[in-house]
């Protein structure tokens, strides 16, 4: 109750209610997220239930076009799956992977970046060269490597079940250096400032200085990076699907749907790539707009008004 009161009187809520873009984005994102996670209830078909899919339904156009089948609102894909349902299920996968992988990247990157920038010296060199090694092994190489280990451990059959955590791990591990370097740069600039010196002088432990004093001041580039990285992670997964290292093709994500639609770009079956494309753009757009808002509100260095 007290928390609620605190929230009600907070600056965040105040500015949120006065920002129509943020509110609009929040509403759209909520609707999208709800329909993604509620897909099993909302979706008219279950694209994961392969018994219901009929190849003869392949590439039907959306209902408002000729030759459409009214049970497929937005048409069907090349396998005869209902586009709308597949997109909803796919969005769930993409959201989990995008946000999960970005969080993993951020956690690894922030911790290593803070340590690297604050401690300096040998630890810094070591961590930053490790980042260089990691950068040289792109997502693709990490995926190839981990998938080989994965297959040796669990066999071919398990992949379909464990694909999502696997992909979060792959994309999370592959792209932490971006965060680490960004955080480190900010830390380098911050740690010579008076307030850090002051904290040190009064004898605060360095862990507290790092987390409570320096980290909040490096938030702004982290947030900018994060919103971009979510989009990036979703698309990374799509690129991996292309190499057979992403989601299994029987459980497509939004990104891999768009990717497979690439083949149909000249064929006239525009809905296969355009609908998921539009949904992805919308999803990332609102995430980014909210990101902008959060960034402005949370940033301790911005004086509001």
């Amino acid at each position: 109750m007290r928390l609620w009161k605190k929230f009600k009187n907070s600056y965040a809520l105040y500015s949120f209610l006065r920002d129509p873009v943020a509110m609009g984005s929040f509403i759209i994102l909520s609707v999208l997220a709800l329909s993604a996670f509620g897909a099993p209830i909302i979706a008219p078909h279950n694209p994961y239930d392969t018994t219901t899919i009929n190849i003869m339904d392949a590439e039907l156009p959306p209902v408002w076009q000729e030759d459409a089948d009214p049970s497929f609102l937005l048409g069907t894909d090349a396998q005869g799956r209902d586009m709308l349902s597949t997109m909803l299920y796919g969005m769930r996968v993409s959201l989990v992977i995008g946000i999960g992988a970005t969080m993993l990247q951020a956690i690894i990157g922030i911790i290593l970046g803070l340590i690297s920038g604050y401690r300096g010296g040998k630890i810094d060199s070591f961590l930053m060269r490790m980042a260089d090694v990691q950068l040289s092994f792109s997502t693709l190489m990490v995926a190839i490597f981990l998938s080989a280990i994965f297959q040796a451990l669990f066999g071919v059959a398990a992949f379909e079940r464990l694909a999502i955590p696997f992909l979060v791990l792959v994309i999370g591990i592959a792209e932490w250096p971006q965060y680490a370097r960004t955080v480190r740069a900010s830390v380098l600039a911050e740690k010579k400032k008076e307030y850090v010196e002051a904290a040190r002088v009064i004898g605060l432990p360095s862990r507290r200085i790092m987390w409570r004093h320096i980290l909040p001041n490096t938030l702004s580039p982290i947030l900018v990076l994060s919103t971009v990285q979510v989009a990036h992670a979703i698309l990374s997964e799509a690129a991996l699907s292309f190499l057979g290292l992403g989601m299994p093709i029987t459980k497509p994500s939004l990104g891999s749907l768009i990717n497979s639609g690439f083949d149909y770009i000249f064929s006239g079956s525009w809905w296969i790539t355009l609908f998921p494309g539009f949904l992805l753009v919308l999803l990332i757009l609102v995430i980014n707009l909210l990101g902008d808002f959060v960034q402005d509100v949370l940033n301790p260095k911005l004086y509001k008004g």
Partner: protein, 514 residues
Amino acid sequence: MKKLLFLVLTLALLATTAQGKTLKMALDADPESMDPLVQLSGGMLQYSHLVFDPLIRWTKDMKFEPRLATKWERLDELTVRFYLRPDVKFHSGNPFTANDVAWTLERLKKSEDFKGLFTAFANPKIIDDYTIDIVTTEPYPLVENIATYIFPMDAKFYTGTDDKGQSKDAIVKTEYSFANENESGTGPYMVTHREHGVKIVYTRFADYWDKDSKGNIKEIILTPIKENATRTAALLSGDVDFIAPVPPQDLDRLAKHQDINLQTMPGSRVITLQMNQKRKPEFADLRVRQAIIAAIDNAGIAAKIMKGDATPAQQQGPEGFDGYVADLAPRYNLEKAQALMKEAGFEKGFDATMIAPNNRYVNDDKIAEAVVSMLSKIGIKVSLKTMPKAQYWDEFDAQVADIQMVGWHSDTEDSANFSEYLIMCPDKETGKGQYNSGNYCNPKLDELINQANVETDRTKRTAMLQEVERIAYNDAAFVPLHWQNLSWAAKKGIDIEPIVNIMDFPYLGDLVME
């Protein structure tokens, strides 16, 4: 400076008009090497037909036509005599003689990729400069088929050592060799510029022997464009004149396009699924295998996923092949499939695993995906993993999954070749059944193929090969899906229809461009 530029431009312009037509073409890959014996692949054989010339070659209707051999006759069970064309010159200027054929044959037997095709061949007998007897160690019915692989090379040109001290005839797969970077054949085109993976330029050979050829292309610039959509775009935007293959999903659009000349033709590459009887005991039950075949609507796959760019198959070799049996009925019947599963005691179905490549055959991963949903209708829950071909074959050999996809094109354009690799009992000693990951094994079928391989009487042989297809059909040895069609597209005015064929070797030497 300006004047000079003008001069250069005019000269360049004059040069191109004097030389005649230039054909810009985009394929999915460029030839791996300039040495025709370094690798046995579609791309290399296409190259060989441009730069070299075979003794004889296939025509559009699967007959043989004379090239460097004007005629040939079988002397006895072991010998075929080839009469060679006189007055043929290599690109180096050396004259072509029987000695070059013998030399090439010897080199073929050294090539890792080609020696398998030439195991039955003994040393040939040179009768005179323009007559040669090709001799086999046992009766061999396919001498003509194999003769299409004999592209005589310039023995003099390739003999000796190069400036690096290496032997000029060395066949080297992964490093520099003289033959990898130089050529002298008798073919209509010479390689005048080559940057591997980027482009290769062919220029018409002035002394080409075939003066009757109407071909009027003086220069061919081949660029590999692997990405399907980009290749189609390059043709539509006019950046290239000729593309192959055309992705199935673009066929419709290109067929309707008024400035584009699209050609398609049933091909001979069969796409199949193998059901591993050793790994998955359920598949040892004939009824289960029959149920799987009956559950898979291969006509639907050909129509929808392949966009009609494939011919549904019930057997290995397509029409036109000796073993083809016309009356093998389509087997798709979902109710029967369910009944068979029930009969076999698997009414509730079972789980299975499957692997397929995702960049080897046309729409391979999409086909596999469709199969998964079809099999789920008879209760078989398949978990599928698709992967790029670089990783696929190791997994295939290791038989990591219960159902595995494999496509096959017969190098000999003969039915027996399919069975030898795909359904004969796997035998490490003889190498038979090398790609039989289903572990299907029927000694009677093996016996028939072995007999057919030494039978030179075509009628008897055809009967044997047809019997083989029937046995495989009745045993539900494998799931035949379809034969991939072949497709080419060019700008209007480029008459590609007469020069394309089922082997996918466009005879560009004879191409006429308006």
